[in-house]
Symmetry: D2
Subunit: 342 residues, 4 copies
Amino acid sequence: MTTSEAIARPVRVGLVGAGRIGNSHAEVLARRVPGAQLVAVADPRGDAAQRLAGEFGARALSPAELFDDPEVEAVVIAASVDAHVTLTEAATAAGKAVFCEKPMGLTLAEIDRSISVAHAAGVALQVGFNRRFSRDFAEAHRLIADGAIGTPQLLRSLTRDPGLANPAGVPPWTVFLQTLIHDFDTLLWLNQPARPVSIYAVADALVAPEYKAAGLLDTAVVVITFDNGAIATAEANFSASYGYDVRAEVFGSGGMITAGDGRRSATVLYDRAGQHVETARSDVELFIDGYTAEFVEFVDAVREKRSPSVTGVDARRALEVALGCIESVQTGAPVRLTEQTR
Amino acid sequence: MTTSEAIARPVRVGLVGAGRIGNSHAEVLARRVPGAQLVAVADPRGDAAQRLAGEFGARALSPAELFDDPEVEAVVIAASVDAHVTLTEAATAAGKAVFCEKPMGLTLAEIDRSISVAHAAGVALQVGFNRRFSRDFAEAHRLIADGAIGTPQLLRSLTRDPGLANPAGVPPWTVFLQTLIHDFDTLLWLNQPARPVSIYAVADALVAPEYKAAGLLDTAVVVITFDNGAIATAEANFSASYGYDVRAEVFGSGGMITAGDGRRSATVLYDRAGQHVETARSDVELFIDGYTAEFVEFVDAVREKRSPSVTGVDARRALEVALGCIESVQTGAPVRLTEQTR
Amino acid sequence: MTTSEAIARPVRVGLVGAGRIGNSHAEVLARRVPGAQLVAVADPRGDAAQRLAGEFGARALSPAELFDDPEVEAVVIAASVDAHVTLTEAATAAGKAVFCEKPMGLTLAEIDRSISVAHAAGVALQVGFNRRFSRDFAEAHRLIADGAIGTPQLLRSLTRDPGLANPAGVPPWTVFLQTLIHDFDTLLWLNQPARPVSIYAVADALVAPEYKAAGLLDTAVVVITFDNGAIATAEANFSASYGYDVRAEVFGSGGMITAGDGRRSATVLYDRAGQHVETARSDVELFIDGYTAEFVEFVDAVREKRSPSVTGVDARRALEVALGCIESVQTGAPVRLTEQTR
Amino acid sequence: MTTSEAIARPVRVGLVGAGRIGNSHAEVLARRVPGAQLVAVADPRGDAAQRLAGEFGARALSPAELFDDPEVEAVVIAASVDAHVTLTEAATAAGKAVFCEKPMGLTLAEIDRSISVAHAAGVALQVGFNRRFSRDFAEAHRLIADGAIGTPQLLRSLTRDPGLANPAGVPPWTVFLQTLIHDFDTLLWLNQPARPVSIYAVADALVAPEYKAAGLLDTAVVVITFDNGAIATAEANFSASYGYDVRAEVFGSGGMITAGDGRRSATVLYDRAGQHVETARSDVELFIDGYTAEFVEFVDAVREKRSPSVTGVDARRALEVALGCIESVQTGAPVRLTEQTR
């Protein structure tokens, strides 16, 4: 196959999940990733699949049909979290490369199973840790890897989400399993190859205290110590009035790097009240470059028949930290990670 | 035609010009603008056309073949400047919508002819003032239009190019006709609907003084007064050691707006020497969003059979200022614009 | 006494301690605080006192002589930490107003004694929490007090010191008792009137691991929960290569405030390597405004015969947190603060 | 005289002028410059002198008495502009060192006379170009002198004043003679030792058009070419809604430096409307460090019996540019500077 054929023949992708993030993924795949062609959409709500498929000239299928379809080479899973593992296994078993949104599963055993099935099928398995592909974070990682700040000693990663639209629908431990999971991956990645040693977490319902009894924790702070001595903090909150705020900071023996400033653009307005800069309002707005680049990586990995740069093992490692947080909140004590992912 | 057919059927674009900017445009059209399909490439240097066409699965044609080809709906002209007007006329006369790089022509008469031919043919004619489509500048324009700073009183726009690779190949007056032409459009657009009244320009060869005798001016400063009282400055230099630097500032009766900060990302490195941010190194890196969005606008205008938001008239207005600058440098005196484009 | 007499008659200050910070305080008092007149200096090392006194036209005395001297109205204590309490008691017992560097004492009982003696003598007792008087931090406090960010939910304060010149001379627990004590006061002050509930601290010797056995911890992270639900982190490190770095961040239900950017000035240098800003290299450089304003407050309190805005009670509250940290590090568990300062 | 005597014996200063800037100078001298002692104040309005003198424990005198007073060693002139030259001559003739606010005079002949009288009397003569002493600008100057940006090619300096309180009281040409005079000095100083070659200026009444007939121009733009090829712009406006805005930018063959960001502090507020920073509201707020340091320089020059770093010659050079601007506005043409100050 020549280069021009490669360009002429994008990877044919099926999308499972037509909710908010599924819609965003469809948009990114169709409009920003020339190496991908969105050919099919599946969703338990058939009309949602129909509508989204129609919008992008794709076919609406059931998940089973989608996995069976020989045209589909790769599957993007953006379904509800508790379906991730079943869908991943079904897709990989059918020989499809899989991109699965985070968290890949809710137990280590689930993720282990997904990893083995993908391994056995010889297909790529990528997890949706999009921050690694964002320009700011990628540049920070490169600088750290190049030794620009020496050995990391203090790290910080935070996620502040602009709004908690429907507190009633948020599953317990979401703050760790779905939100901070990004920060855990960021910290593990920026502090490579160090491994976490202990975890201490506190969490509370400060935004919507009336849902605390139902298990909703909307604010959390985590301390992680690593085997290279570094100490990290992670922070999350579900109601940032000023927009979607994701930042990281790594302080090392030779310097510091900060990533993220939350600005929508470099345009500054000066008026009677001072200087003003607009902030990004959603994860999609803040991370559109990362959402695009993670699919470019996925498509390239599929084409090149190689493992993507962020895999099921990374999903497992981040989950391990999230589970440690849950245990720490439940016991009120720090948790030592004894059997870690290697 | 249904929406999904519209998506399935992108506008088929032919590109004329396979040089540096032609390559960049091909890349943007093929990889970032799903509404466009690059189907043909033409260039006097047949092998350059062949290579670029091959890279994107397009056909290599001569310009005449490209204009005659019924598959081609729209033409992007990124050829040498002195061919712009001939190519634009040939393409529009053949009924193709045209996107022409700036400057659209080197005389007002040339541009007027292009405008009439396009008008007669009933096709879209867009000029490549990409800054209008850059996020920063678009946001500044929106804020000014919304009255955020009152009436503009002082404006500034500047272009500093990182390197003068081949001074011998730079045509005379390039600093006004090809570089500052962007700044003139920016100033006219940010100060809409005011019209320029007088122009004073100074220019010198500070980067490559040995080429001054040959007519190469690499550094220029321009003052423009407007009929709403506003006074603008424009600045250019061909050898910015720190990267590609484009910024604008508009001060008005109620505030100020600045656009552009030259940063590659929001990542900051702190080390023994202080705080450091990397700068953008090329126009393509700095303005990739603007280069993309200007083609989205072009494709949308073609589909919607409407005039694009930046047209031959804008090309004419900016050229008028550039020609005023040349006269001012030649006479050493300010120039009054008497017969302006309306 | 008329206003002009008040100006003509500054408060006569005696300084105890002629080390690094004593020298800085002498300089600030003599050159930046017109309401103060440095009249006497005492130090166990007589020659150091002699030299410093000579530099500013003051007399060199023993501490006892200084406390007995009727000319001395107020005493600034910048001696070694373990002498703070004895000196404070002697000075207040002699009827002098006292400004004592932090920490005011190393046990709560010591501080309680200083507070009572000062109370009995009816003299002002101020502790050297200079950050409260720094422009950035004062503005952040004012904005929070004005409700600009709603109820605090997440707080952060950090101190990174540029160098650990003499690790052998650093007493155990310095990171909590002398460095983070500033951050604890900052957090308590920015989250007023909430009270801390629990503390978890980790600390290590990452900068100078060879001194860990001797008890030197140079890197620490602390999590504090408050009775208004807010969760705070504090961080310290003794070897910031890029300068003296002190910042705070308060996230609330309605917004966020950040204070501190470590810049020496607003001058930016652009060169081949990007954009560069110089960083402040020492606490004195970074906080010269705070060091000045805290003495203005002290002198004003003495003149107006009122309590200063930051007192022994604040010193006690911050120490309480520092002691909680030490216990947490010793036990490896979070510590609940049961009997707090009220 | 030993060092400690030098400190004990500040330079005794008499202030002429008890208006807005005189009050500010008195405050700075009395509260921020330990090397100065304000001993006398004179003002044609005796009660203003009385009040200001009383506030700082100084004596109220007539100008003649002040110049005759043997206690007065140095005189600060902050009177109305048209009295500057007479007062400077009288003071220097009486053997006093003189610090004169800008402009030192309104004609070159006036300034020449002041320079000769001071020279004959052997006393220091300093002009109030305070920006040179501001941290930002001093750092920019140091970096340029150190070669950090190579040879200057493009310069910019601007002054935007927050309000035009009393347009009726503003003398003609104030924008050049009193406001931009600062920017001219800044440009000459940052581009040392180059000399200006040509000047082109435009000016208008955009803030208060109803005063244009009376000669009030409130907005101006100036282009200056230098004999090292550099081209500079200067800008002024009398009604910046967002505060007092003074910035400079110097672009050279090897880089760029910017000075000034108009921020009151490094505190950033984030809320529903984005990120916000407060701006400085007055020259005194923005430049308090420069106003202080220029008097430190004056006092040091007096003590060390040397010429200050900014003298009557600098006043003359800046005035020369201002007069060129006036001629350019009057003729509508660029002005060539033939007989320059050397």
